[in-house]
């Protein structure tokens, strides 16, 4: 079917401000949709209250309203713009909920607006758990036993039926907000009351728990001709009971045989048909009993979701873009596959690598927050990594997180001592052994590190599986990584010898790199330096190779250079001889570093393209526009670590690298990159350092005769106390080189300062602590300026409403 000609003005609702459970992935999907619809000649009317988005750029839509996302405002916009259709499936839960409200309150009917993609009954069937359950029963699929309750009494009668542990899910909340698992009556009462309170309709679902079952997701697409394809399967490393957004997830599914996978595929197709999502992408979650293979349907998102963004980046199949085209009447076989050009979008991507997504948490910002992972999402961002094996992808994902982890560093064996460098097991205290078991049993974001420690303590796959309910296949892979480390450091071997020498054989180095070990982690293990290892490795001729993400497992020639690194025989990078610039992205979202940096990177790519440069993007955040394969000329989906960036620079030989648009992440790389001989474009690293280094910045201000609140830099507790006494309390303390006020506190007296220094930071010459006089009752202003080296232009001056 060709595209519809009876509509030409389409309204898209964005997802508003970023919250946990709804981040920049909807900027990504909305931007793709706007581009796709305008490409087809439709007028796009966009409403979003979040200006830090690519989609609200003036040239993305025909008309953009940066307005509150409420029904009355939207009705005014609809009345004024008179769109023919509303596409509700690309703006996350916010966009979908608003579309439902507009439909239910008769706004759409009053103004003759048609819902395209998913109609109201389909949305309700998928979103309303009761209707969903009925639909599943109708097509013969199992769902966990459950019941609704509007009061504690009702809930208690449901739990009698479903039993403990029970899951409590408040209705119509986002990212599983208010969701909990109750193991007993007391917990149950508490969680139900909390859930009833935060549900806008004072309703909770009490559901039999399938905790410990394996969790899977399928990304499904359907067109108006009822063609259905599965874009990607995803298996959760963490079992049921942990929100998918907080789980480490892996694509494709690893531990399903074809018979089981095809049953799940059949079920997904039956579900999208029964729910009645007409066109576009949906995400369907299943739980599988590891003991019998029994499968239950958990839920369906009748819209593009966070997992869709992940699936798009994991396969190269642009789900949101295709979904937009399907919504206006195209069928899958009428849309071409951009990557292969010769084939169509009507197929199922097959991948020849393994993808690992690792969530990023910001618990350090909230001391005292409960770090246990449950059905309520707590992560604030994520990193994705691609490797030829799970082991490689996992280790790449860990170093992509930017949490000062470069591999599976031990949490209990002290650095530079004990097992990390070849010591014995005897050094681990009873308490630490207990801690490991505890951290395995109760889900937390660091669990994967404790799993590695459990293997170091001699625990078996079976024991760890018993404590974590994580599938043994994943555990065995982690065990292989630990075993290699043990081999390297000579653990348990009678002959000692130098671990560095052991590493410096071609076969060991090759194996290490194929397992995904970073040079930095290897240096830690053998007691060397990152660059020493790098040089030695390169002298052995062992260098990263790059492979393409092509949707088809190399069956067809790919035309879009979307690349990832691995250590294999053949490199497909095939750099051009054009003048090119590498732009470093901002990595996983976290508090203080969100979508705004992606916005800057994307604009840098557009601007450089305009003036004739080839643009090369490096980033590892799957939710972003920057990691779309058509934002830059070339995309490297890689960790933003020195090693990985250098590999790309050496391969591509760019004119230079831009580090100033990706926030702190690339800024931290500026000096090491420059030291490695890489040309940094824009603000020079020395200038960055002068701004970031408080001592140097202070000197600059003094030189310019500008005022600054009294301050000092301390590298020890006593020094901090001395400075504070000198400048007087209250003082503002924080580590240097930080983001968004991480570990920043206002301290009013000496005792609190001592406490802070002991608790929050470990001051040292490498990690100085900044002590500033806290200015009470001051106003805070921001000035944005642009400089070409000679002239300075002021972009804007903003006054903060809150005092400084």
């Amino acid at each position: 079917m060709p595209k519809r000609t009876d509509i030409d003005k389409i309204l898209i609702i964005g997802s508003g401000p970023i919250v946990i459970g709804q981040a920049c992935e909807f900027d990504y999907s909305g931007t793709q949709a706007c581009k796709a619809l305008r490409e087809e000649g439709y007028q796009v009317i966009l409403v979003n209250s979040n200006p830090a988005t690519i989609m609200t750029d003036p040239d993305m839509a025909d008309r953009t309203y940066v307005e509150p996302l409420t029904v009355p405002i939207l009705e005014q916009i609809i009345a004024r713009e008179k769109p023919h259709a509303l596409l509700p499936t690309l703006g996350g839960q916010t966009g979908l909920n608003l579309a439902v409200a507009l439909a239910e309150q008769g706004v759409l009917e009053r103004h003759g607006v048609e819902l395209i993609g998913a109609k109201l009954p389909a949305i309700k069937k998928a979103e309303d758990r009761d209707l969903f359950k009925q639909a599943m029963q109708k097509i013969g699929l199992e769902v966990p036993e459950s019941g609704y309750a509007h009061s504690l009494e009702e809930a208690r009668s449901v739990v009698e039926r479903v039993g403990y542990p029970a899951i409590i899910r408040p209705s119509f909340t986002l990212g599983g907000t208010g969701g909990n698992i109750a193991y007993n009556r007391d917990e149950f009462d508490e969680h139900v009351q909390w859930g009833l309170n935060i549900s806008p309709v004072h309703q909770v679902l009490v559901e039999a728990s399938v905790i410990g079952w394996k969790e899977f997701e399928l990304e499904v697409m359907r067109d108006l001709k009822d063609n259905v394809v599965i874009i990607c399967s995803i298996e959760n490393f963490d079992p049921m009971g942990i929100h998918t957004g907080d789980s480490i997830t892996v694509a494709p599914a690893q531990t399903l045989s074809d018979k089981e996978y095809q049953l799940m595929r059949d079920a997904a197709i039956a579900i999208i048909r029964e729910i009645g999502v007409e066109t576009g992408g949906s995400n369907i979650q299943f739980a599988v009993d590891p003991k019998s293979g029994r499968m239950v349907a958990i839920e369906m998102n009748p819209r593009v979701s966070r997992s869709s963004a992940l699936a798009s980046k994991a396969t190269g199949f642009p789900i949101a873009k295709i979904a937009a085209k399907l919504a206006v009447g195209y069928t899958l076989d009428e849309i071409s596959n951009d990557i292969t050009k010769e084939t169509t979008a009507c197929f199922e991507p097959t991948i020849d690598y393994c993808v690992v997504k690792f969530p990023r948490f910001s618990f350090e910002k909230f001391p005292g927050a409960d770090e246990t992972l449950t059905t309520q999402m707590k992560s604030v961002g994520e990193a994705m990594a691609i490797g030829r094996t799970f082991k490689e992808a996992l280790q790449k994902a860990i170093r992509s997180l930017e949490i000062e982890a470069y591999g599976l560093e031990s949490r209990i064996f002290r650095r530079g001592k004990g097992r990390e460098t070849g010591g014995g097991r005897g050094e681990v205290s009873e308490a630490d052994q207990k801690l490991v078991r505890e951290r395995l049993r109760i889900a937390n974001w660091e669990r994967v590190f404790y799993i590695a420690d459990a293997f170091r303590l001699g625990m078996t796959v079976k024991e760890i599986e018993g404590l974590t309910a994580i599938d043994r296949w994943f555990l065995a892979n982690i065990e292989e990584i630990v075993k290699f480390e043990d081999h390297l450091i000579g653990f348990g071997q009678r002959r000692g010898g130098s671990s560095l020498l052991r590493l410096l054989t071609a076969s060991a180095m090759r194996e290490a790199k194929a397992l995904g070990f970073s040079d930095r982690r290897l240096a830690q293990l053998v007691g060397s330096q990152e660059l020493t290892i790098r040089d030695a490795r390169k002298r052995m001729g062992i260098e990263a190779t790059f492979k393409m993400v092509d949707t088809c497992g190399a069956e067809f020639v790919a035309h879009t250079p979307y690349l990832y690194s691995t250590y294999e025989r053949e490199c497909e990078a095939n750099p051009t001889t054009r003048r090119k610039i590498v732009i470093l992205g901002s990595g996983p979202n976290r508090i203080g570093q969100g979508i705004e940096f992606d916005y800057c990177c994307v604009h840098a790519a557009f601007a450089l393209k305009e003036i004739g440069y080839e643009t090369i993007m490096v980033n590892c955040n799957p939710e972003t526009v920057s990691t779309d394969y058509d934002t830059s000329d070339r995309l490297y989906f890689e960790p933003l670590c020195l090693e990985d960036v250098l590999n790309i620079v050496e391969r591509e030989q760019p004119v230079g690298v831009i580090v100033q648009f990706g926030g702190q992440t690339p800024l931290k790389l500026a000096i090491p990159l420059e030291q490695a001989g890489v040309k940094i474009l824009g603000t020079p690293p020395d200038a960055i350092d002068r701004a970031e280094d408080r001592e140097r910045f202070k000197q600059l201000l003094q030189h310019l005769s500008l005022n600054q609140s009294p301050n000092g830099t301390a590298i020890s507790v006593s020094e901090a106390l001395r400075i504070a006494r000198q400048i007087g309390y209250p003082v503002l303390v924080r580590p240097s080189y930080v983001l968004g006020g991480r570990a920043m506190e206002i301290v009013y007296d000496e005792a609190s300062l001592q406490d802070y220094m002991a608790r929050a930071v470990q001051a040292s010459p490498e990690h100085p602590v900044l002590v500033d006089k806290f200015l009470e009752d001051a106003i805070e202003m921001d000035v944005d300026a642009l400089c070409d080296g000679q002239e300075v232009v002021i972009g804007g001056i903003m006054e903060h409403i809150e005092e400084a």
Binding site: G140, S257, D258, E479, A554, E572
Partner: protein
């Protein structure tokens, strides 16, 4: 870790690590893009004479079990993967891939850049190769690869087809039940453990008068037989060289022509027999069976550069305009334009390369597909074709009455 070497006929070499059986294996090297279903691939008799590279790098993750087999034993000559999992995980797994291949004498190689190998085969075409753990001399291995007979004109069917007629009883696999024998209706295993999902259940009431089908076995995948039984057929499997007269004597409601290995031109006797059957009975052909029909109609087949081997191939049904995602495994294709009988029409095409995927005779009850509606491994989108075959037999029965066995 024992070293193994893969040599291709054009002199390309890959060094890896032995897994599965040690020794030496020769065959045409082709790549398969299925991410799941390696056990079904290994046991698919159509791979006789071939060595399979899996493009998905992690193979063996869910182990090997007693159920996921498409024939008695693996038929591939050699198996090539990036990483074979030593620690499989699945509730049905009974052993790991390595030991399974050892048990069946299949030579494997792992630890090679399978994507580089796949790109090579894509660019230069499928070619002969040798995997060896005992001869690690590059020159002698390349020479062996060059000297290998290849597929063209060879009769590989004889090596995998059954030699005696037999009755097939087993129906398709069901979660929680495994395989059920025709007619018994009772649970074979795991009884009482969990309910079967209704949507995937085989029809519980068999046709009161089942359709008798004679299935030519050219190396038939068991799931085809299971699907035929599930669709309500009484299936008798006969060897590939069974004469048309013998088949007609059995007075079947329909004849099925199976998949099988190699070049359709390597089995002229089968083409002759099928030519005699055309016009006497409904015929349904899959894969090699489809190519045999093409030849029997007087047309030609040709070899594809690297074939279609995988579970994500889009096929468009030209009669409905709908697309089905299919499993495919073929290196040869039918040239439909070469068929002189203009009553043979194209019904299905491959959306990737526009090759022929299905045809039918407009006057006679005959149709065939190049792809695998029985899936296993792969998507179930095309399983409606078994019902289509049954419908065809039903309408013939209505026209002519149930076929009667001729007595000599």
């Amino acid at each position: 870790m024992k070293k193994a070497l893969l040599a291709l006929a054009d002199g390309t070499l890959f060094e890896g690590v032995s897994f599965g059986a040690e020794g030496e294996a020769v065959g045409e090297v082709i790549f398969n893009t299925s991410m799941t279903g390696y056990q079904e691939v290994l046991t698919d008799p159509s791979y006789k004479g071939q060595m399979v590279v899996m493009t998905y790098p992690l193979i063996g993750n869910y182990g090997v079990n007693l159920e996921d087999v498409e024939s008695k034993a693996p038929a591939v000559e050699g198996f090539i993967v990036k990483e074979a999992s030593a620690c499989p995980s699945n509730w049905r797994s009974t052993q790991n891939l390595d030991s399974y291949l050892k048990d069946h004498g299949v030579v494997g190689i792992q630890g090679i850049d399978t994507r580089a190998l796949t790109r090579h085969l894509r660019d230069y075409g499928a070619m002969e190769g040798v995997i060896s753990t005992k001869d690690l001399g590059p020159d002698s291995l390349v020479a062996k690869a060059k000297a290998s007979p290849g597929l063209i004109g060879r009769d590989l069917v004889r090596e995998v087809a059954c030699t005696e007629p037999h009755i097939w009883m087993q129906r398709a696999w069901q979660l929680g039940k495994g395989y059920i024998e025709q007619g018994t209706g009772s649970r074979v295993q795991g009884e009482g453990e969990q309910p079967q999902l209704d949507m995937f259940a085989e029809p519980s009431t068999l046709s009161p008068k089942p359709y008798s089908v004679v299935a030519y076995d050219c190396g038939i995948k068991w799931n085809i037989l299971r699907k035929l039984v599930g669709a309500g057929c009484d299936v008798t499997v006969v060897p590939a060289d069974t004469s048309a007269a013998t088949v007609l004597n059995m007075a079947p409601d329909g004849v099925f022509l199976s998949n099988g290995p190699g070049d359709p031109e390597g089995v002229p006797y089968l083409v002759d027999n099928v030519r005699k059957l055309i016009g006497t009975t409904p015929i349904f052909g899959i894969c090699l069976g489809h190519q045999i029909l093409g030849l029997a109609f007087g047309g030609q087949t040709y070899k594809l550069k690297f074939g279609h081997h995988g579970g994500n191939q889009p096929v468009k049904d030209l009669t409905t305009g709908k697309v089905e995602i299919t499993t495919q495994n073929h290196g040869f294709a039918v040239d439909i334009a070469s068929i002189p009988d203009k009553n043979v029409e194209l019904t299905h095409i491959n959306l990737n390369d526009r090759t022929v995927e299905g045809m039918r005779h407009t006057r006679l009850p005959i149709f065939s597909v190049q792809y695998h509606p029985e899936a296993s491994p792969g998507p179930h989108d095309a399983s409606y074709l078994f019902q289509r075959f049954v419908d065809l037999m039903a309408s013939e029965r209505r026209k002519t009455g149930a076929p009667v066995k001729r007595t000599r």
